[in-house]
Symmetry: C2
Subunit: 286 residues, 2 copies
């Protein structure tokens, strides 16, 4: 097993809080410090016993830490790296849980001092509700945890973070950071944008006395479930992974056009073929 | 309460079978006859005790029936109406559970003899799996059941069908047939087409060694769940309600373009506003 004397988690929300719980339950950490901008959140985390101590000043929070976890929104990573880099002890490991990787990995490698060992990561876990009150040590059970090491990544630090991910119950997968961003633009970011667009489309029809949305059944409700995610988080992801997402929207519109054409020309075989192949994909998924 | 001496259900699948169970449990019918093209399905229904007798010949099946329920695919309704019309007894009620109404209602009113009382309906119920083995008397509990009467609909027959829907636990809502088709193009047919298109889009990226779809999380899985529905049924719905669905795909593409533009121009406020309004819609839904 693995053990870190001092761990600092910056951003004690659903993901940061859950990882803290994993380390507490598994006795993987001596002292866990929770850090972040919101005093209320930190005090809540402390009250719940998720962390052992809290600190609002990030520089102070990371002093003496063997492991620092960045679990704030991706857009804050660069500023945080600038702030904590000079205060961390030599050889300390930094990992992050950001859902966009490519250029942030490059930026953080440049911003962090040479003697800090950075291991970029992305756990594919979450739930509808966010916040430390929703954190649980089983959040990562059976989930994938992508690590996107570069040629600069220290192998020992990479192995340590991998062991931590596995201790959380996750399956670790190594992947190139740019490929990661393209893959997640397709399987995660596009579906969210598509769900938001769907809800906007139907909501716009709600004029006059008939409220279209009142008649929504199972299908549409799945869309609204996806679209209930944090608007700020998805705004950031769209801005940070924009080029990949635009490519995926273009591809999606191409598929929609194909369906529209088949409907317009009443091409029964084409439609059934398109629907059947999509339906078959589902059968291939666990 | 209401009671029908002889009921014939044409198409004893999930919906037809569930309605038969409702009538059996509630003692709303004397004898229930199951009818349809597939002998195997009918025998399964008989074996499960969902119906009291079965008949492959539709004309024979409806003779003496006080209530006939059309629960086959919508595309078959006109041919069935031609076949059963002359064999039904005077004053018998016909209702259907078709998910497209507009022109079928008009067609069936023309095809059925004047002395047959047709009440067009559409229960908003279903589940992932289909077939009589999945039927249950609670399928309609809390669901909406849309009835789309016209000026030709007999008020007494309408009231009788309404009573039956309520006995099934459904909330009845009357609506114009053409409006029904437009509303369901938006809240049901569009989401299904969008889900099929999404799964096709991501599946197409699965070339080479990286299987994009392997990394799909909760968001994408909701899409595949919707896209797992019957390809034949959705092919038919797209062909039968094509104009409305095309309008809704166009509206959807407009929303997607708006999102794409906001991403391309890095319009942070616009993106957050779009996402927030969609997220708020969700909060308004039960």
């Amino acid at each position: 097993m693995i053990h870190f004397n001092n761990v600092t988690i910056i951003g004690v929300g659903l993901i940061g809080g859950s990882l803290a719980r994993v380390m507490k339950t598994g006795k993987l950490a001596g002292t866990i410090t929770g850090a972040g901008r919101s005093k209320a959140t930190l005090e809540e985390a402390l009250g719940l016993g998720v962390v052992d101590r809290i600190a609002e000043n990030l520089g102070e929070a990371v002093e003496g830490a063997d492991l620092v976890v960045l679990a704030t929104p991706v857009a804050t990573f660069e500023a945080i790296a600038r702030e904590i880099g000079p205060r961390m002890k030599e050889g300390a490991i930094v990992t992050d849980v950001g859902s966009v990787k490519g250029r942030f990995v490059k930026a953080l490698e440049k911003l962090l001092p040479k003697n800090i060992r950075y291991v970029p990561g992305h756990p594919i876990a979450g739930k509808e509700k966010s916040g430390v009150s929703e954190s649980t040590e089983v959040l990562f059970q059976g989930a994938r945890w992508i690590l996107t090491p570069t040629e600069r990544t220290d192998p020992e630090a990479l192995a340590a973070v991998e062991t931590l991910c596995r201790a959380a119950g996750a399956q670790v997968r190594r992947m190139d950071a740019d490929l990661h961003d393209r893959v997640f633009a397709a399987v995660s970011h596009l579906p969210h944008v598509a769900a938001y667009a769907m809800v906007c489309t139907v909501a716009e029809l709600n004029t006059g006395s008939e409220e279209y949305i009142d008649f929504s059944g199972g299908g549409f409700r799945d869309f609204t479930r996806i679209a209930a995610s944090s608007p700020e988080m998805w705004r950031d992801i769209c801005l940070l992974n924009g080029n990949n997402i635009i490519e995926m929207i273009d591809r999606y519109q191409f598929s929609l056009n194909m369906m529209k054409r088949a409907i317009r020309t009443k091409d029964s075989n084409k439609l059934e073929g398109l629907f059947r192949s999509a339906s078959d994909v589902r059968k291939g998924l666990k």
